[in-house]
Symmetry: C2
Subunit: 331 residues, 2 copies
């Protein structure tokens, strides 16, 4: 294992310190916690939006904290759910009396711990609602999940629900936007190399020199198929078709596209994938409203890519375009 | 070699197509060229700003094309200078009669080809000025360079000169801002793994399992020293001290910091590096005005990091804060 780190057991603490050091105008670290919150939290007269999960997916989730997106992100250890007491700290820090929505990626640990935190917060008189993101069409049930996993599509939930909250939406309205986004978003990923959790010191899986895995999870959970590497066009086509099989878009539908690098993929390759995704959608008469190419939901240094499609309507387009000052999603 | 590409000899063409497909509101590909230009080029009553160089450094340089930054970026083959005729196409596309400034990273091929293009453009009646960026303090002279190399600090030159041009600066004024930025910016990088140029199919250098290289160039050119890996704090301290030795900042100086990933480094590790960079600067009484952590000037999938410091004054701060719609530098 060769990594640019200090103590493998302190990577999350070091990372959070380095993150808030970079963006002091936007975020702060709540003392004694692993919660990154907006610098002005609780933002007055506004529903609070809290997400989080295991670390190792940077810039998720702390990179999405800021005006127009999340109010707080709770970091667990690498690929490990944050504990309920940490999530509770996040909820308490952002509640301004308007209630708090939790955006949870569908992993059993996250669902359990965020739910426990919600109960604890409600016992303290805070209104809490939850939305679970399960955009990964690759597999039903997985190593750490019942049902579908939540992956890069979660970033769109942060953006759209965040914009609704910033615009003064009620807790029910912000939750409705988050639920509509979950209903309209689908993703799938693939990897060409694995990643190594620092404290584990060895790769979480192995692939042969010429092998790829379609449908892999962001923690290296098994996908659909392992096979010899094919061209970028074939990879892009397979991922896009699998998403379209599930999302069932009509001709004339409008979508946002996300081509997300898993951490170790050169940005050049992400654009090469986007070329084909764009061609396929255009050939089917699907209109591309906006495209996001880059690293949004990573898996440490895993090399690979995921493709996300979000079906848009007028409400979602307006929320997508709304201003965001989150460090990893400025617009 | 395992990459998400189609034909190794067509990666630049595929990448440029995928790039403009992602950002049609901001950029267009000039037909029959490797030039990415602002969608509204030539922007009226404005000095044109052109940069570029070999590909493989994405999001540089095309990602910095857009309102508030570059007017055009000219792409060469991977790690290869663009030809003079392509640079000339870029110059002609952005000249609105106010003249054009070329921002050139200091590599012999780039300097020669951009200079030839400038001569050709001047023969067609276009005023052209040039600024050469040489921010890399690692070594004097290198495989492809006389003098110091130009690396991630170039992005600050794009940003500040771009803001000056957008604000209506004359060619002389925009050049003066670019020159001041070059004078005030220093960088140095290090790598823990090499990268593979697609058409070459084998890594451009090798490092032992536990080895790192300090001062490496963004094409894998030799650095200062190879040694066994040390902690992130020690790496960050060595890079920061080498920059400070050269930049000679007084207590109370204000700087912008860039912690740049070379392509394969997890974003988590970049934040861990930033933690120490921030601590060192703060301990010396240097004020950090803004920080940029992410992938700005990469080397394909090379894992490693560079640290850039830019000394600021009131003029440069205002230009740094000015609006940019470039896809890879939105603010």
């Amino acid at each position: 294992m060769k990594k640019i780190i200090n103590d493998p057991n302190l990577v999350v603490r070091d990372m959070l310190d380095g993150f808030v050091a970079a963006y002091p105008r936007e975020v702060r670290l709540l003392p004694g916690t692993t919660v990154i919150a907006r610098v002005d939290a609780p933002a007055a007269n506004k529903v609070g939006l809290v997400s989080g999960g295991g670390s190792g997916h940077e810039p998720a989730h702390a990179g999405y904290v800021g005006e127009g997106m999340l109010d707080a992100a709770v970091a667990g250890e690498v690929f490990t759910s944050p504990t309920p007491d940490q999530v509770l700290e996040g909820i308490k820090a952002v509640d301004a009396g308007e209630g708090v929505l939790l955006v949870i990626k569908n992993y059993t640990g996250d669902v359990m711990n965020f739910d426990m935190a919600a109960e604890l917060a409600e016992a303290e008189g805070i209104r809490v609602e939850q939305v679970i993101v399960n955009d990964d069409v690759a597999v039903e049930d997985s190593s750490f999940t019942t049902g579908r996993r939540g992956i890069a599509g979660t970033v769109f939930v942060h953006k759209l629900a965040g914009a609704k909250a910033e615009a003064g939406g009620t807790l029910a309205e912000v939750k409705a936007v988050a639920e509509k986004t979950v209903k309209n978003v689908r993703s799938i990923g693939m990897a060409i190399t694995p990643c190594t959790v620092p404290a584990a010191r060895t790769p979480s899986f192995t692939l042969e020199e010429n092998e790829i895995e379609i449908g892999i999870g962001i923690h290296g959970e098994p996908g659909i198929e392992r096979k010899a590497i094919v061209s970028s066009d074939d990879i892009a086509a397979e991922l896009t078709e699998k998403v379209l099989d599930d999302l069932k878009l009509e001709t004339g539908s409008e979508v946002a596209v996300m081509v997300n690098g898993l951490g170790g993929t050169p940005e050049m390759e992400l654009y090469i994938v986007n070329k084909k995704v764009n061609e396929i959608l255009t050939s089917k008469g699907i209109r591309i409203y906006d495209t996001f190419v880059g690293e949004y939901m990573t898996s440490l240094e895993m090399a690979g890519v995921s493709v996300t499609l979000l079906k848009l309507d007028d409400e979602l387009k307006e929320l997508l375009d709304a201003k965001s000052k989150a460090p990893a999603f400025r617009c």
